[in-house]
Structure formats: structure tokens, C-alpha cells
Assembly symmetry: D2
Homo-oligomer: 338 residues x 4
């Protein structure tokens, strides 16, 4: 961090800034070169809160040259993290597919889907039991019984069970039944929830908020890791923009950006990003090509009858074709990357 | 709602759509005029989930002509709601100012500020005890002891105590100590929290999420009202855009839009919107002019030493000048609106 | 500007950066304090192109501490600019209203409107003759005959004639007939057009592009001023965001931001920002309160029959009421600011 | 289009709406089913201007069910358009690479680059001669001499010469020297320029504006096609969002969306989207995977010395590696799609 003091900054103000920097464990040094005093702090024990420095007296400008996260940073952990959840592996060069319905609706539905997606190569089974819905009048999910149905269907087909935990009081049930705890986009900055899942030993699938910067996604992951749980898988699922042709705008560049900044794996959710099933095929192949560690897609035997998000769910035969092409493409990539 | 079926829609598909509409309590009717079948549902008991209709077989297009909220809608409650929290009144034509520090830091700080803002006309005292912070390494607030300090300072100066509740397990403490429960922008779609504060009898100050549509803000309020608590005050605090000159982009038009759609009061938070204290004066006068029911502003005796958000906090003398001009302007408005 | 070199930067690379900075007329100096070489350039003859510096070998980071514009900056011209166009004055503390239809449609229409808006206090008459339309099939404007009708109606009512110039080949006709040349939002970065209106001696009303930063608006103004024409009036007309309740999102904070950074006057266009006439009244009063130098509003005798943008045009009686309240409010402000 | 009249709409108002619809060549019909009159217009010769209908008296709501463009729509031209410009072919299943520097700087530079990119499989040579720059103090390009250098370098290497035309007065020179006329993002809605390039017989590369919807991009293309030139290639180059990790946010989903709506080819510009060379490789492979018809990438022998945009230009060896992998991937795709 480089702090430029105002030309008229007093010695007391300069000392004040140094104190602030030292409170973060930094050893600042001073130079005078452009008519102002510059205070530089090259390293610190914990990330320096730029806003606090900016608020100090006599400060003209603050220039951050380091990212504000630490444990999720590639600087502190150069190798890719590899995170296993039963059959599903995230990171390490593979391309892992999580598939399933938006919501668990009943036993037959989830078992039928689980069998189908497992047969075609998926390694994780998704299905919402607690559903965050914009309207209080929309279907809110089956709750704990839904978690049980999901778990049984996953176990029967050797899949990792993946579902969203929406609040702290659901964490215990989710830990009991699930293999991966999903934190939804709307909860990406629900910091108490982040700390709570950070105390568990389950892999966490952390979805990017629809208006969150990549840096904020990594800081949210830092909350989980800092609380003791290093097994975080990130998920890009589209950000909110003015474009209305799609439900969200998939920020596919987030994949190489995250790969550069962090050691954590990152997957893509093309279903929520696009909001229309006809774009899911193309976006999944793009996710593979751009270097993502996997995708999470919605599949339903009869999307027209789905209780939520049917518009973006793949039919069984569409999923089958998608997985076939993902497999061929993955094999080709493996063959040439020797 | 008007559903346009595809030209080739079968009778079974048409019947399917009618069933879906009936499941929301609507009595649909059919017409054939543009080569396609149109199914119209003019009224329904609960708002119709357009996404579910859109997913039904044979549907070409769905046109929603009603807003998806109900209890917060001006259609169902034409008069303005007026919400009282001790000395603070929201709605009914006044302009109520809530002021205070970003965070409660210690007893002397909060008492000094409370005395100052009360002396100059504020009716509410804000001050964070639980602080949602993007980084896990930033100051996280004093917790329950901070709530107590805030309450005592508010009581001593006849102000309503306003502070943020971040999670369900904090609700009981907040209800005990506070006069207004604030739901922060990052939690606007934390639906379990909305339901929980909806079970209390305290006024709720609901801040708009930084990437939420006005309609979504009203749906979040609907969650609270639907859970039993009609005393919701909305707060526009800036949305996230590409502009970097300010912390957020204040969407001032949200005020007349909300006034048209809903009976709930709405205030503005110019401090978080702008992120810089020098714009707070102009934005507060604009809030008054545009018809807002009040503002919430940050004030600190020594912003340079504030533990958070000092950059956007007013100095005491700035707050004094602001309140003087708000008072004069309010009196003038009252005098001409006879 | 402060350039941080990489720890391993060679002497040749350091010299290379110094050369680049010198090419902008800067006299850089060097320091070594945080394990890296810092190169600082406090002043320069022309703004330094940060991107070019960033591309130089061995550079780790570039920190700009000055704004990239110069002639429009308040640093170089501390007093407010006051720009006169016949009866209309922009800057200097007044609040000037430009009113008129979206498009000039015929002689009777424009004369009727001109007489009405002049009678109620407008100082400028707007009306499009060349219309930029998103669709090639929408009404494209009357062209030069429309300019003549506008001019005659303006002259007859002592109003400044304001209309948009869309391309270089229209500049001569516009200079002949108009008092203010408007550069539309879609052309804000049509740099050849900016240079061309910069060669005229007519005031230019420069509208902010729907996705332009305030800094880019000021840089666009810099093009005009740098070409020789210092008489630029800025116009905030809403930016594009994800919010759909309004046509655009009015960035009202742009007014105090521009006032801080630049000496140029700035007005607001509430009609295009909101896209709905019912919000124009509230936004105009907010514009006055926030310190804008005026507004440009759309007025039409029969909005329902307007050839374009009727949805956002005020009826005559609405305009009359608005102007009455603007007048009273302006008088009150003048009375208290002594 | 379905127009819902207000319950109290008069016969005169209903007739008025019908007249408006008929003025677009539609044959409207009437129904009464939800307590209101519905007026439906299934087809029309030219797209109906919804805004004009919405402004008519007595209208409650307007529902557009058709896209407002026509000649560029896949409905009117189901097969993919294939557009040839010398060696470069856009559409028809291939993946065409245009490469070159941001700006033509001198003869040696452009010849060196042309030879390199041709040797590794590029079919088009890009290079700006007229440069739109945000700041008037940045390098503005070589002008017509730059066009000549570009043409000669392209001819010598059997490449199509591609460069931006910024204004109408440059069109003649550009037609003389270039094989593809590029319309830049900032000019996407410079309608006079669109009409002018629409009168030429050169392929036009139309870049999406940084805040334009896909529908607006297609309408801009409609201007060109409607003026007589059907040879339009679209280019997605990133849109402006709040994310700051990249220069723009590449909207990769625009590719399948455009493919669904239109018969025109679409390529991607990963260099401008990302703004950093290290992401160009991944984004190019994603473009290929998602079904784009090609890419346009920036290449420079010594990016650190480039007069503009060096930060996003590939080094020669990076381009070579990229083309090698594009070739292998394309061959694999061709082999499996039989």
C-alpha cells in the first residue's frame, strides 16, 4: 500500500497514518519525492483496511497494490486446491458435472433424475430443499424431508449430494444429509452463515452474488477458510446487467481471473446464468474450454411440469447429448495436453 | 396475465395452462384472435408465478399486467402508511432524520453523537453493533454491548434506536434493545431473516440490495408484511453500477416509483450512496425535494478516527448546517402546500 | 502518477518508463522504499496516458492521482463558467428551463408549444429535427425544415433554439438555425463530431452517454473545449442499469460530482431519465435542490399523439404547475442564501 | 402485438389505436375477455413502434411478441449468412481469425505483424488508422497513410484488411483501401454512419456498443442491411458492468442468442473484452466452443512499446501457440461433427 499525504500534512498526521498501518502488522517507510510525503507498507500480517487509512487525517490518496484476501490467494498457496466430495472431484484438471432438478419435488422425481444423470457421467446430484424465492407466494421447497430424499437418491447412484443451506439453523441438518453445502448467490455476503459453514468439515459450493465483484467472491471465500474450512469450490452463475435476453450475464472471464488470483476450484452454472435451456449446451462447452473445473446444470424429466425454473432445465435426452460431447471433448483435451 | 399459446398448441396443453392459472385462484378465459389461442386471467387470489406458466407446454409468451406483490401494493391499501417508532414518524408528509455513526465504538462516542444529533432535530439514532464487512479482517462491531450503549444513548436523548440485525439469532437481542430493526442491503433477500423480523412487532427499516430492482425490494417487504408485521420503512441507498466516482449510484427516482406502487414510506441513505461526505448535503436536499419521507445520515465527531466509513461521515458542524437548511426548507414546503 | 516497478525491473526498463513520462512533459523522480523502485511524476504538460505507461516493460502497477482532463477541470479554472444563449443562461446560480417536444412535427405544433412554455418561464425551446432512433423503421425527424420551424418558433417567443446535431454534415445547418447545438447521448464519444462542434462558436449541450462515466463525460467536453469552443453545458440524462421501472437510472449525484471536478454548468433531463411523465415533476424539484443549473423537459399539447416519446412528455397544465413550483422554490432559495 | 386498453377506454380511443397499428401495415382485431378491450396485431409489413402505441390515448399496456427487426431476423432468412472478404470467410461453420495491432504505427511494424499472423493461420489483418480515444491527448492514429500501409501489408500476405471507419467523411477512403469496414463500439448507434456504410458493397464488422442490448445490436445491423448492404458481421467485445477485474465483461452468451435470433455471423473480440493479454487464450478457445464464427485479437511484436492498448496485445509466440491450439481444436470438432 502506498499512502500519499496532502502537501500540508502535519507530522502528527503522518505519524497517525503510520500507527494505523502498524496496527495491521506492517512496517511502513517514508519517502518524499513529489512534493508530498509518501508512506509505503509493502507487507503486513493481515490485509490492511484501505478505507480506514483513507479516513485518517491528512491523507490525499491511498493506493492498494495487494489484494485484500490472503488464505484463498495463490500468492500464499501456489498449487491448485483439489477438493473431493465422494465421487466428485473439483480441481486437478478434471471437469466435474453436478446435475439435477432445481427443487426436490418427490421421491420418484429425484430418483429418476439421479439414475439418469449418474448413468451419463454426472458426479454430483443437485436439488433444492430450501428454496430462496423472490416472492413469498412461490414454492418454498420441501425442507428437511427434501434433504433426505436427495441424500437417498444420491447414495443409491454413488453421487455427491449437493443442496443449498439458506440459514444458520439449517446447517446441522444439511451437514447430516449432504456432501456439499451450497451457499446461494443471495447469501454470498451473509457473513454469519459463511462463518458457520466455515466451522463444518463439508465442502462448500459458494455461488457468486449477482452484483458481486470477483474480489468480493474471494473475500467471501476467505471468511469460510478463515473460519477453519479450506474446502471451498467457487461458482460463477451470471451477474446482473442491463441485458434482458438472458436471465443473467455469464461472466466467463471470471474463470481465468480466479485461476490467476486464487488456488480454489471454480465451476460454472450455465442454467441460472442463461435462464433458457437452449443456451446450456453451448455454455457448458465454453466452460470446459475456458478452463473451469466443472459445471452445475439443471435437468428435469418434464421441465414443463417443474415446480420452479422449468424454463432453464434440460430434458433427459438433451443432458445425454451434452454429456456425450463433454466426454469426447475432455478426452481430446487430455490427449493433446501431454 | 395474458398467455399466448403457440399456433400448434394442443387442446391438452391449453387445458394444462388453465389448470396452472386456476391453481393460483384465477378464473381464466380464452379467446382466439391472432392465429393463436390467448388465455387471460384478470384476477387471482395470490400473485401468479409467471415462470411456472412460462414453463408449461405449448406456451409461446406470457404477459404479466399486474405486479407480483399484494399487501404492500397501493392497489390494496390506497392511503400512505404512517409508521411510528418513538419520536420518529415515517410517512404522513414529514421528513424524518436518522443520524449517527457507522458503528458504535464506545460509550462516550455514542452519547456525544446522540446529544448532538438530537439537539439539531434528528429523531432517530443509528449505530451499528453487528457490522457486515466485506473482509473478515475488518472491524466487525461490538455486538450486544454495542446495542446496549446505543439504546441508552437513544433513551437519554429521546431518539429511536436504529441498528442492523444480521441474522436470526440476533433478532431477540435486537428486539429487546432497539426501536427499529434494520435489515441491511446484503440481507434484503435473506428470506428467513425477513420472515423472522416479520414475526416481531418492531418497525423494520428494509434497505434495498445494491443490485435489486424496486419490484424485488417491494417483494422483500411483502415477506415481512405477509409474516404479520405491516410496519416496514423502505430505504434507497444506491445501486451498483459501473460509475466509480461515487460508492454507489443513488437511484433517486425510486422514491416516486415506490410512492406510486406502494403505500409504504421510503427514506434515503445519502451517506452509503455517495460514499463521500461532501455530497451528502446536496443529496439530502434532493431527497426532501423528491418526496422522500426522510434520510439516514452518518455523523461522527472525528470522522478521521472512525473505525469504519469515516470517509462518508459528516462532521458535527456539517450536520448542524444540513439540519438548519432541512428545517427551513421543510417550513417553506409546509407553507406553500396549503 | 506513481509507477511501481517490479522488484526485478532492470535499469533499462526504469529508464524506459522515465522516457514515456517525459514524452508527456513530466519531470519524473525516483525513490526506493518498499523493495521496488517507485517513479513519481507530479505534474505534466498534458495528461499522461496511464495505459501506455502500464504497457511499458517492468511495470508492476500504475497509480493515477490526477484526473486526465485539464481545460474543463476546476483546478485550471476555479470559477464557475457562465454560458449565455439568448435568453437562456447556464451557470451563475440560476435555474434555466429548456422545454419542448421530443420532435418538431409541424409549424402549428411547435408554435403552440413555444408560446406556452415561454409564457410559463422557459428560456429555451427544444425540438428534434434529426432524430436518432434505435429502429430504422421509427420516425426519423423532419430534417432541415424542422430546424427552420424550430428557429422561427423560438425567435417569435424570445427563446433559445436547442436541437440535436447528429453528424458532421449537419453542423453547418445547425449553426445557421440554432442557438445551442445538442450532442446526443449516443454521440457522446463520436469524437469527430465533438471536434467539429468545437470549431463553432455556438454553445454545445453535451449529453452524457448511457454507459459513460462522469470522467468520460468530462473528457468528451475536453475534446470540444480543446478544439476551441469553451461554451459547453453538460447534461445528465440517466444511465443504463438493470432497473426496469424507469427508462434509465437518473444519476443525480453526477451534479455535485461535476460541480466539484469542473467549472462547466450541468443540467438534468428528467424526461429521458424517467421515461414516464409522472416522475418529471419530482425529479425537476430534486434537480433544483441538488444544485443543477437547469433542466430540459419534454412538453406536448397532446402527448398521446406525439410521433415519439409521448409517454414521457408533460401535458401543458402539468408543465404550468411545474414551472409555478420551480419559480416559488427558486425565489425561496434566493431569499435564504443571502 | 397485444394492446390492452383501459377499462374506461372510449370507442374513439380504441379506433385511434387501430389507426396507429394500421399505419404500420397491420390488420388488427379486437376481443373482450378480461374486462378490457384487447387489440391484437399479428403481423405487419414493418415492425410496429411500441412506444407510439403506448402513447396513444386509453392504452393500459402494450405487449410486444415479435422482435422489432426484420431483415436480420432468422425468421425471414432461416439459413446462416456466409460473408466472404478475400481469404476471410465468416459463417458456414469455420472459425476465422483476424489479428493485428491496435493501431498501425509504421510500415515495418505492420508488415512484420502481417507476415507473422498470416504464417500462423490468420485470414484478416486488423490495425487502426483512425483511433477513437477517450482522451483528446491520446494518440489518434495515422489516418489515411495508415490505411495504405495496412492495405499493402494485407495484400502482401493475402489477408483481408480490416480497420475502423469513424465518420462519414472517412467512408470513401476506407472503401478504397479496406476489405472490411469496421464500425466501432462507440459508433454502434451513429445511425448516419450506419446508413452510409450500408450504401457500400464492403462487408461491415459491426461491434456491439458497451451498453447495448443484443436486440439493439441487431437493430443497428438492420440499419445497414436496410440501406442495401446485407454483408454484416457482428462482433461481441464485452459490455460495461461494475466488475473491474477486466476491462469489460465478455457476454459470451450473446453468441448463442444471436445465432437463435439472426442469420448473421458473429465473432468475438477477447482482447478488448478482457483488456489483459493473459486471458485472451482461454477466451478464444471459449469462443470456438460456444459456436462463434471467429475472433479478432490484438498482436504486437513488442507490446510494451505499443502506442495504444499494449496491455492486451499478444506477443508473437503467444499468438503462435494460440493458433496451434485453435487449429487442433477445429480439426477435432470437424472430425466429430460428421
Amino acid at each position: 500500500m502506498i499512502v500519499t499525504m496532502q502537501p500540508a500534512a502535519t507530522l502528527k498526521e503522518i505519524t497517525g497514518v503510520i500507527r494505523v498501518l502498524e496496527s495491521f502488522g506492517a512496517s511502513p517507510s517514508i519517502s518524499r519525492d513529489c512534493g508530498c510525503t509518501l508512506i509505503t507498507a509493502a507487507t503486513s500480517k493481515v490485509p490492511i483496511d484501505a478505507q480506514q487509512v483513507r479516513s485518517a487525517g491528512g491523507v490525499r490518496d491511498v493506493h492498494e497494490d495487494a489484494h485484500p484476501f490472503k488464505r484463498v490467494s495463490r500468492d500464499y498457496h501456489p498449487e491448485d486446491s483439489v477438493i473431493d466430495a465422494r465421487a466428485a472431484r473439483f480441481g486437478g484438471g478434471g471437469f466435474t458435472v453436478i446435475a439435477g432438478p432445481c427443487a426436490v419435488e418427490n421421491e420418484e422425481q429425484i430418483h429418476t433424475i439421479a439414475a439418469h444423470v449418474a448413468a451419463h457421467g454426472a458426479k454430483g446430484l443437485r436439488g433444492g430443499a430450501f428454496k430462496p424465492r423472490t416472492s413469498p407466494y412461490a414454492f418454498q421447497g420441501m425442507g428437511v424431508p427434501g434433504l433426505r430424499l436427495l441424500r437417498d437418491a444420491a447414495r443409491a447412484n454413488k453421487l455427491a449430494a449437493v443442496s443449498e443451506v439458506m440459514s444458520i439453523d439449517q446447517v446441522a441438518d444439511c451437514v447430516e444429509h449432504l456432501d456439499v453445502l451450497q451457499v446461494g448467490a443471495r447469501n454470498m455476503q451473509n457473513f454469519d452463515l459463511l462463518k458457520e459453514v466455515g466451522k463444518t468439515d463439508k465442502p462448500v459450493l459458494l455461488k457468486r452474488g449477482p452484483s458481486s465483484k470477483i474480489e468480493e467472491l474471494l473475500l467471501a471465500a476467505e471468511y469460510i477458510v478463515d473460519a477453519g474450512n479450506p474446502r471451498v469450490v467457487l461458482c460463477e452463475r451470471g451477474i446482473r446487467t442491463y441485458e434482458t435476453a438472458t436471465r443473467n450475464t455469464l461472466d466467463i472471464t471470471a474463470v481465468p481471473v480466479v485461476k490467476q488470483l486464487s488456488h480454489l476450484p471454480i465451476i460454472i452454472d450455465p442454467s441460472h446464468a442463461a435462464g433458457k435451456r437452449e443456451y446450456v449446451y453451448a455454455l457448458t462447452l465454453a466452460a470446459l474450454a475456458v478452463g473451469a473445473d466443472g459445471v452445475m446444470v439443471e435437468v428435469h424429466p418434464t421441465p414443463a411440469k417443474a415446480l420452479s425454473d422449468g424454463r432453464q432445465s434440460l430434458h433427459f435426452e438433451e443432458f445425454e447429448r451434452l454429456m456425450e460431447d463433454v466426454r469426447r471433448q475432455s478426452e481430446f483435451r487430455a490427449s493433446v495436453s501431454v
